[in-house]
């Protein structure tokens, strides 16, 4: 494409967002004239969703949840790092202020971030972020190395990464203290599969995980 064509194309596809948005807004108003007035009054989501930035997994659409129902954080490979102020602010706000009942960490098979972390290559600026995934591999080295099939090993790392991030969430003071007082939030680990569009529950046992980590990471005392 000549550069002028590119500029025109960009403008058109960008305008599409606004047209689509107006269509969506009109549709919601037709269904419920009060929809946006109610929405505007505030949010009380039951869920915090921590997912991958991947464009193929818009949390609301794949769970059938509407605007106002799920608080969302998305980053590369759905990581929850102890020193990342970005995700820690989200968890803090969702637990302490919005008082969400469930926290869902959702990974997905075919994750480009996980794949990049398994690639023996200098990824520049991405190195420190992807390093967290390499650390998950090292924690589960024996299990992963025993899987002969490469794509199966990669799928398993996606799952183990989700479980590890669930553990990281449970390690936070916000979650431990709220759970001790209120009995929520409960942390869940899921993986989205492109084969069938379904979410696989990794059956993370919140209670047990909490007990296990509290031997070392107990932060319930204010």
């Amino acid at each position: 494409m000549a550069s002028q064509d590119v500029a025109k194309y960009l403008k058109e596809s960008h305008d599409r967002i606004f047209e689509n948005n107006r269509e969506w807004a009109a549709e919601q108003k037709a269904k419920d004239p009060e929809f946006f007035t109610k929405l505007s009054a505030g949010q009380e989501p039951d869920y915090l969703w921590i997912g991958c930035s991947d464009s193929r997994i818009p949390a609301e659409q794949i769970t059938g949840l509407g605007a106002g129902e799920v608080f969302i954080h998305r980053n590369i490979a759905n990581l929850v790092c102890n020193t990342d102020l970005n995700v820690m602010s989200v968890v803090n706000y969702a637990v302490r202020h919005l008082k969400v009942k469930h926290i869902i960490v959702c990974g997905h098979y075919g994750c480009g971030g996980v794949k990049a972390a398994l690639t023996p290559q200098d990824m520049g600026l991405l190195n420190p972020w992807l390093r967290n995934i390499r650390d998950v591999y090292r924690l589960h080295e024996n299990e992963l190395d025993a899987i002969a099939d490469e794509s199966k090993r990669y799928d398993r790392l996606v799952e183990l990464n989700v479980v590890e991030q669930c553990r990281n969430i449970i390690k936070t003071a916000a979650v431990q203290q709220s759970y001790a007082t209120n009995g929520f939030p409960i942390v869940h680990g899921w993986v989205f599969g492109f084969q069938d569009g379904l979410l696989k529950d990794l059956k993370v046992d919140h209670e047990k995980m909490l007990r296990d980590i509290q031997k070392i990471y107990n932060l319930t005392q204010g």
Binding site: V6, L10, K11, H14, D15, I17, N20, N21, R22, W24, Q28, F36, T37, L39, S40, G42, Q43, P45, S53, D54, S55, R56, P58, E60, Q61, I62, G64, L65, A67, V70, I72, H73, N75, I76, L79, D84, L85, N86, V87, M88, S89, N92, Y93, A94, I104, G110, G112, A116, G124, L125, L126, P128, W129, G183, I186, H188, D196, G197, L199, D201
Partner: protein, 210 residues
């Protein structure tokens, strides 16, 4: 503990319905998705549940790469957001980056107040409070709290665009392949996206000055 699982069951059931409907409409849908992603847009938005990007843009899975955090803040030293920007710009080669703030933003509201939000949120919102300090006169001249919060959200979007422009990969992509940056505000009460600066608008599109 007596926590009802209803909320969770709803999501699980919702996902089953979604998967069935999507396959009914297009039996190849998930197979095609599984082959990879090539989104044109990176969306940096607020974690607020009322601004689901793909839904409000009436887009499809695969259209928008997403980072959402408290009050759609971009800090140059934030590794999470920088990694998203780097991956989207270098590897996915997105054509546009949208920073979208919104009305009634809890983060903007909190930054306008003086309450102690605890060490984590105090630190995260520090740049927003800094913006508030810089634009004290203008913000105080505004009639009500909602208007103040919208103005602070706008200033925050502009600041995020500034951070983006200084990101080495982004500035390279702007010069070499015409990547464009866009600021928007989602008006929750209207359900509509608004371009940040109507005065510079062309074709419903606001492009940050380079």
């Amino acid at each position: 503990m007596g926590l009802s699982l209803d909320a969770l069951e709803r999501v699980v059931a919702g996902n089953k319905i979604y998967a069935r409907k999507a396959t009914e409409q297009d039996p190849q849908f998930f197979k095609t998705l599984a082959t990879g992603q090539s989104p044109e847009i990176l969306w940096i938005g607020c974690a607020d549940s009322r601004v689901p990007e793909t839904t409000v843009c009436n887009c499809q899975p695969g259209d928008i790469f997403v980072h959402r955090n408290i009050a759609n803040c971009l800090h140059a030293d934030d590794l999470s957001a920088s990694s998203v920007v780097e991956y989207a710009t270098t590897h996915l080669k997105v054509k546009r980056i949208v920073v979208c703030g919104h009305t009634k933003c809890g983060g903007a509201n909190a930054a306008l107040g003086d309450a102690d939000l605890g060490p984590t949120l105090n630190t995260w919102l520090l740049p927003l409070r800094e913006l508030r300090r810089k634009h004290k006169g203008e913000l105080e001249s505004l009639a009500d709290d909602d208007a103040k919060a919208v103005r602070l959200a706008e200033l925050n979007v502009q600041q995020s665009l500034d951070v983006l422009r200084k990101h080495p990969t982004v500035s390279k992509a702007i010069n070499e392949r015409g990547l464009t940056l866009h600021g928007m505000i989602f008006d929750i009460a209207a359900g509509e996206l608004r371009v940040l600066d109507q005065a510079k608008k062309g074709n419903g599109l606001w492009t940050a000055p380079q």
